[in-house]
């Protein structure tokens, strides 16, 4: 009897504590709180269903680097996401034999044969589930952060929250593919939260952390400087705060290893991707890069147009535009598609534009076909832990399409449609921004 009372009290206390994480404006209305918790649980269920059964070899590669960091002291892998994963890995190593899954020689990227070889292991489900646990925690933190970003704008916050929680791209990138994208996204959003709270130091440092974790966050820095700061002094100061984590990490890794994040950035494929679509102007080597051209045009437009009564909304809208331009003009790995989801969510939450939502749904359909470019690796192999014998040998979707139609041609057609939708969305967002900002609350 006494035990059941104690358990009951503990559950009540936990519930109260968990609810305290939600801003008071959301707690005041039981129907809003009800909606939030219900959709959160639905989203959580979708995540849990994929967590132990689906993953791409990249999940093993990134955790292999974390393994080298924590168990072999290889400081070249000291960056935010691999450090967080390393801490998680230390805990997991007491539950599951991590060496069986994460130790190989040569390149830090896992080979297909090693990846497929791990699928027969008896502990594969628990291991994959545990590897994704840190991602789930960051994912939940992002949900709470959305509510705090719109602390007094309940309708907007609720819409953004549900958009994130139910978004299939988030579920695919993080829980099916198994990528760490939620970690840099969390730091980007936290930086946004602090800038809204007028704390430039914390905001700048957090953006710096996200840049070290994922280089794409660098694209957001000029946008943020133009929209949130009115004078050059503040802009330079913010850039300095942003560069602090980058400098510290460069110094540490330079001192203790032969590589550094900045060198890695210059060498990274991301640069090749954003410059992939280009026009040769002259045979002496002059090339025009389409994405860079569009990106700078957007920056100049914002700079000379001037802003803004709602800088947060403008920032998120223009960030969405930049990512849409990136997706439509550049080669990108499927999990990169989650990068723009928080910004699109905020845009949608604020403007409540259903046509944007319809276009996003069309994007998702095209995106399904886009993943076919990667053959079996992004099809049956990702869920092959369920039944390796059958799923490892299943034909790739593109090979199947080939029986009816030239597969690659069809994929390229769908890719073009995807780009067209993305460019059209850019136009719609710009058009929306020209209109007066609605007053929701």
């Amino acid at each position: 009897m006494a035990l059941s009372i104690a358990i009951d009290t503990a559950i009540k206390k936990m519930k109260d504590y968990a609810l305290r994480l939600i801003p008071i404006a959301y707690r005041e209305d039981p129907s809003v709180l009800n909606t939030l918790i219900k959709w959160f649980l639905v989203g959580l269920l979708a995540r849990l269903l994929f967590m132990p059964f689906a993953f791409h070899g990249d999940l093993l590669s990134t955790y292999h680097r974390s393994y080298l960091l924590i168990f072999e002291g290889s400081l070249r892998y000291l960056n935010p996401h691999e450090t967080i994963q390393a801490i998680a890995l230390w805990v997991i190593s007491h539950i599951v034999p991590v060496k069986d899954f994460l130790v190989w020689s040569g390149s830090t990227s896992v080979s297909n044969s090693f990846w497929l070889g791990t699928l027969d292991h008896n502990n594969i489900f628990s291991f994959i589930f545990l590897l994704k646990m840190p991602y789930l925690l960051f994912d939940i933190a992002i949900c709470i952060l959305f509510l705090h970003l719109f602390r007094n704008e309940v309708k907007i916050g609720t819409r953004v929250f549900i958009f994130w929680v139910l978004n299939p791209i988030v579920i695919f990138s993080v829980y099916v593919f198994g990528r760490f994208e939620v970690i840099p996204i969390f730091f980007i959003l936290l930086s946004l939260y602090y800038i809204k709270e007028n704390n430039s130091v914390a905001s700048g440092c957090l953006l710096g952390i996200s840049i070290v974790s994922r280089y794409y966050a660098l694209l957001l820095l000029p946008l943020l400087l133009i929209i949130f700061f009115k004078n050059w002094k503040d802009r330079i100061l913010y850039t300095l705060w942003t560069s602090i984590p980058i400098i510290i990490l460069n110094l540490i890794t330079r001192l203790y290893s032969d590589s550094s994040p900045s060198v890695n950035f210059v060498k990274s494929h991301f640069i090749d991707y954003v410059t992939g679509m280009n026009f040769i102007i002259e045979e002496n080597g002059q090339i025009l890069y389409v994405f860079i051209l569009a990106y700078v045009c957007i920056l100049l437009y914002i700079f000379y147009k001037g802003c803004n009564t709602k800088p947060l909304i403008e920032y998120c809208s223009y960030s969405t535009i930049i990512f849409l331009l990136f997706y439509s003009t550049s080669y990108f790995h499927p999990h990169y598609f989650v990068w723009f989801i928080p910004f699109l969510g905020i845009f949608y939450g604020y403007y409540h534009d259903n046509s944007i939502m319809e276009l996003h749904c069309l994007q998702i359909v095209c995106f399904m076909f886009y993943t076919f470019y990667w053959g079996q690796a992004l099809a049956s192999w990702m869920i092959a832990s369920i039944n390796p014998e059958v799923l490892k040998t299943m034909t790739a979707p593109i090979n199947f399409i080939r029986y009816f139609y030239p597969g690659l041609f069809l994929l390229n057609v769908v890719r073009s449609i995807f780009s067209a939708i993305s460019i059209f969305m850019v136009g719609m967002i710009l058009w929306r921004l020209k209109e007066a900002i609605p007053n929701e609350e």
Binding site: L33, P168, V365, M368, T395
Partner: protein, 223 residues
């Protein structure tokens, strides 16, 4: 709020329906296959397949329900455009089981191409022979097949125009797999990690119970 998010939820449902239909269609079309034989030792192309040249390979099926044969083609990085003839025979009875005609342009560059046919129920321990020919092709517009230099596959041999070839063609054979077997094998694997199964079941159960409770009764909150 429910009405406001309607387009989003409808969109997600549409995506899920499309994905499910696609998967079901793929399965329905005999994609539910599992590997039977894999002769993946290869070094050079066996030579152009054109005119009267016929290249073949014999093998012994190790399972019933033989339904698919993959062949590793060489396209010589050019656009070949003539018809390719694939024939499968039961070697003991010399009975032709299937004949499939494809265009050389459909063949991916240096990759496997799969030939599907109706499952052969009693294929186990029988010797089969598949062959490829292309009477319309000529040396500048012909594909080839990768092969090994030595006898890499002991269950059969490669042939060129009926003459035994010292190596073997790079090929894979598949048989169909029952849905019941697929599910039971998944559960067998899941049961091996018993502690995880219990904890995972508890977590899932709690979340589902939470959804049902909130949906049915609503949440009682003290402000």
């Amino acid at each position: 709020m429910r009405n406001e998010l309607k387009p989003f939820i409808v969109g997600i449902l549409c995506c899920l329906v499309i994905a499910s239909l696609f998967t079901a269609y793929m399965y329905g079309k005999g994609m539910k296959t599992t590997l039977m034989i894999a002769q993946i030792d290869y070094s050079d192309p066996i030579g152009g397949i054109y005119g009267d040249i016929e290249v073949g390979q014999s093998f012994v099926a190790t399972e019933n329900n033989l339904t698919r044969i993959d062949v590793l083609f060489v396209t010589y990085d050019r656009e070949n455009s003539r018809k390719i003839l694939f024939r499968l025979k039961d070697q003991s009875s010399a009975e032709e089981i299937t004949e499939i005609i494809i265009n050389a342009s459909e063949i991916p560059t240096n990759d496997y191409f799969s030939f599907y046919f109706d499952p052969i129920p009693d294929s186990k321990m029988k010797t089969y022979y598949f062959s490829l020919s292309s009477p319309e092709s000529y040396p500048e517009n012909a594909i080839s097949i990768y092969s090994s230099r030595n006898n890499a596959y002991i269950g059969g041999s490669a042939f060129i125009n009926g003459e035994k070839y010292p190596g073997d063609i790079a090929f894979r054979t598949y048989n169909t797999y029952s849905g019941k077997g697929f599910i039971s094998s998944f559960f067998e694997k899941l049961i091996k990690d018993r502690l995880f199964l219990i904890l995972y079941g508890l977590i899932l159960g709690t979340v589902i119970f939470g959804i049902i409770t909130i949906h049915g009764k609503g949440l009682k909150i003290k402000n």
